[in-house]
């Protein structure tokens, strides 16, 4: 027969363990979304690395690559965390091979879904509001009548013994793309980091691959913009 005080002790220990687990999972800490740029399986190296044209002949280099991540939300059954002024310009030319968004003071384990967008929502895109990384005087702004480039990709294509510039400036409200990712304890590392892969090739290597020889520049032609923006759906994935 087990004595009552032993039962009480056992229950107390179990309670303490439960409290510790709950406390560990709910105490506010820092969550980091870390974006790593790739072209397929190859990490992005600006200027010096050549990649195969996914839709045709030739190889290409990338000189500049930036894009907007916006309107970040973390969802759980109980509550949502919605980031304010959530406009982040991701770039990979400032000393780090990755871009990261840090959210301070958040209970990471509660959340079951991560949601954010590629591009700028139509409300912000139609104004000159200065919020987050939105700045009507920066490189991603076309002008106030057109709005922002959601993604900027510039470089050179080497094909058939000639070099030509590559300019992909993808914007327009129709290109705004919402992405959703399931979250669980295996996705969030112990130090609160979620790793995401940004695959530039996803913009071109679609069901019908885009040949950079045929479309070396995309700016304001709605059909061409839509072709590239279609790739936003598969542009980012969990690592």
């Amino acid at each position: 027969m087990i004595k009552p005080f032993k039962i009480v002790g056992l229950i107390s220990v179990l309670l303490l363990i439960s409290v510790a687990i709950v406390w560990h999972n709910t105490v506010p800490k820092q969550l980091t979304l870390r974006f790593y740029p790739f072209l397929g399986s190859q990490p992005l190296v600006l200027n010096n690395e050549k990649y195969h044209n996914p839709g045709g002949e030739g190889v290409f280099t990338i000189r500049d690559f930036q894009f907007f991540i916006s309107n970040l939300v973390l969802r759980s059954k109980r509550n949502n965390y919605t980031e304010l002024e959530s406009y982040h310009l991701a770039r990979f030319d400032v000393g780090k091979a990755y871009y990261e968004i840090v959210i301070s003071e958040i209970s990471v384990s509660d959340f079951q879904q991560l949601v954010f967008s590629i591009g700028i929502d139509s409300t912000a895109n139609g104004t000159i509001v200065i919020a987050g990384d939105l700045d009507p005087n920066n490189r991603m702004a076309w002008n106030w009548q057109v709005g922002y480039k959601f993604l900027l990709l510039e470089g050179s294509l080497y094909s058939q013994m000639k070099q030509q510039p590559l300019v992909y400036h993808i914007g327009f409200n129709e290109s705004y793309t919402r992405l959703k990712f399931p979250l669980n304890s295996t996705i969030v590392s112990n130090d609160g980091i979620i790793k995401l892969k940004v695959d530039i090739l996803a913009l071109f290597d679609q069901a019908e691959p885009i040949d950079m020889n045929e479309i070396p520049k995309v700016k304001f032609d709605p059909e061409d913009v839509a072709k590239i923006a279609k790739g936003f759906q598969h542009f980012i994935s969990l690592m």
């Binding site: 200065i130 002008n143 300019v167």
Partner: protein
């Protein structure tokens, strides 16, 4: 309808002038300094003032006097204002400036305007990462002002007016406070009342030619959708007209030279090959009075500048793809890089550039020579 809606939105936003009072923790030794109040258009965006150099009335007053005082030079003949004349938007009208040595310098004198916005690296090649850092370099440069900072500090400390001004502004007279004062005076050089600003505020209309030029300025050409453009906005932001502020986005190789003749430019600072031949995209505010143009002053007129972009671009490894690709004619770039603007379009862009001249800035007494207005001994 769409465009009208946007114009109305911009006009409304521009009428919301931010009256700035900066409240920062003052590290001045003097506790009774007064912070500068100034107005700035909303569309200029965010700016920062170093916490260790609050923008005080006293520091600006000191900086203004130093800026106009030739005592800063070795021979007591060259002031900052020699190469930065207010009537020329703080440039000097020369292709290459000349200092105490009499030798032409390596660069054209840069306009000093709206320096709290735009690129955070100063000089044509970005070699200074703050206005404070920028301020001392010409003073010490052997060809510009040729001074020794220790000697200069000693010389200034022997003048009663400076003893008082330094005491009031920083509580001490040294090289650091000289730099801080000069930086703060330059921060106050804000130009925001040009006809373009008045247009943005909805106060005036541009002439049809100026408006045509404005639209060309703001557009990257795209023949696929019949959009004609001057491609200016790819390097000069829509409201500030300066280079972009983030990192080194405000620097560009604009096709002045081929690889054989390409100057170091930003490469001299970053040592990145991708930055070879990149120079700071300057503000175009008051551009009509800041000739000659480019980092070496090679173009005498705005017509020559437009001719360069329209037909004089030279290829090099770091030439911006945006310049190579920008063409108002479909598929004509294989042989020769050209914007292919029509003559009347060139005239219209130049007409718009003239709307950036801010007469009230060029004549603002607060920026003028205090020695000529009897203010130094205040």
């Amino acid at each position: 309808m769409f465009k009208v809606k946007f114009l109305a939105a911009v006009s409304l936003s521009c009428t919301v002038i931010i009256v700035v009072s900066i409240f920062v923790f003052s590290t001045n030794k003097q506790g009774d300094t007064q912070l500068v109040e100034f107005t700035t258009p909303f569309v200029f965006g965010r700016f920062q003032i170093p916490k260790d150099n609050p923008l005080t009335v006293e520091s600006v007053k000191l900086g203004r006097r130093l800026f106009y005082d030739p005592i800063l030079s070795k021979n007591n003949k060259v002031a900052c204002a020699n190469c930065h004349k207010q009537s020329l938007a703080f440039t000097d009208g020369l292709a290459l400036s000349v200092g105490v040595s009499g030798k032409p310098l390596s660069f054209n004198s840069m306009s000093l305007v709206n320096l709290m916005w735009g690129p955070k690296h100063f000089f044509w090649d970005g070699r200074a990462n703050s206005l404070e850092n920028q301020a001392l370099q010409p003073i010490e440069h052997v060809d510009e002002m040729g001074s020794n900072l220790d000697d200069l500090t000693e010389e200034l400390s022997e003048i009663k007016a400076y003893q008082t001004l330094f005491e009031q502004a920083y509580g001490e007279l040294n090289a650091v406070s000289i730099a801080k004062a000069l930086a703060n005076f330059q921060r106050t050089l804000i130009s925001s009342n040009s006809p373009y600003d008045q247009f943005l505020r909805g106060e005036i209309s541009l002439s049809p030619q100026e408006e045509f030029g404005r639209k060309l300025f703001m557009a990257h050409p795209d023949t696929k959708v019949s959009l004609r453009g001057g491609n200016c906005i790819d390097c000069h932001s829509q409201f500030l007209t300066s280079g972009f502020s983030s990192f080194f986005d405000g620097f560009s190789n604009n096709g002045l030279d081929d690889d054989e003749n390409l100057a170091e430019g930003l490469f001299g600072v970053t040592k990145l090959e991708a930055h070879r031949g990149l120079f700071k995209a300057p503000t175009l505010r008051n551009i009509a009075v800041t000739a000659p143009y480019m980092h070496d002053g090679r173009f005498k007129t705005l017509e020559e500048v437009l001719a360069h972009y329209n037909s004089g671009i030279k290829r090099s490894k770091t030439l911006s793809p945006l310049i190579i690709e920008a063409d108002n004619l479909a598929d004509s770039q294989s042989q020769h890089i050209s914007l292919n603007l029509a003559p009347h379009e060139v005239v219209a862009i130049i007409s718009f550039l003239h709307t950036l001249t801010d007469e009230s800035f060029l004549t603002n007494k607060a920026f003028s020579d205090p020695f000529k207005t009897g203010e130094p001994n205040d």
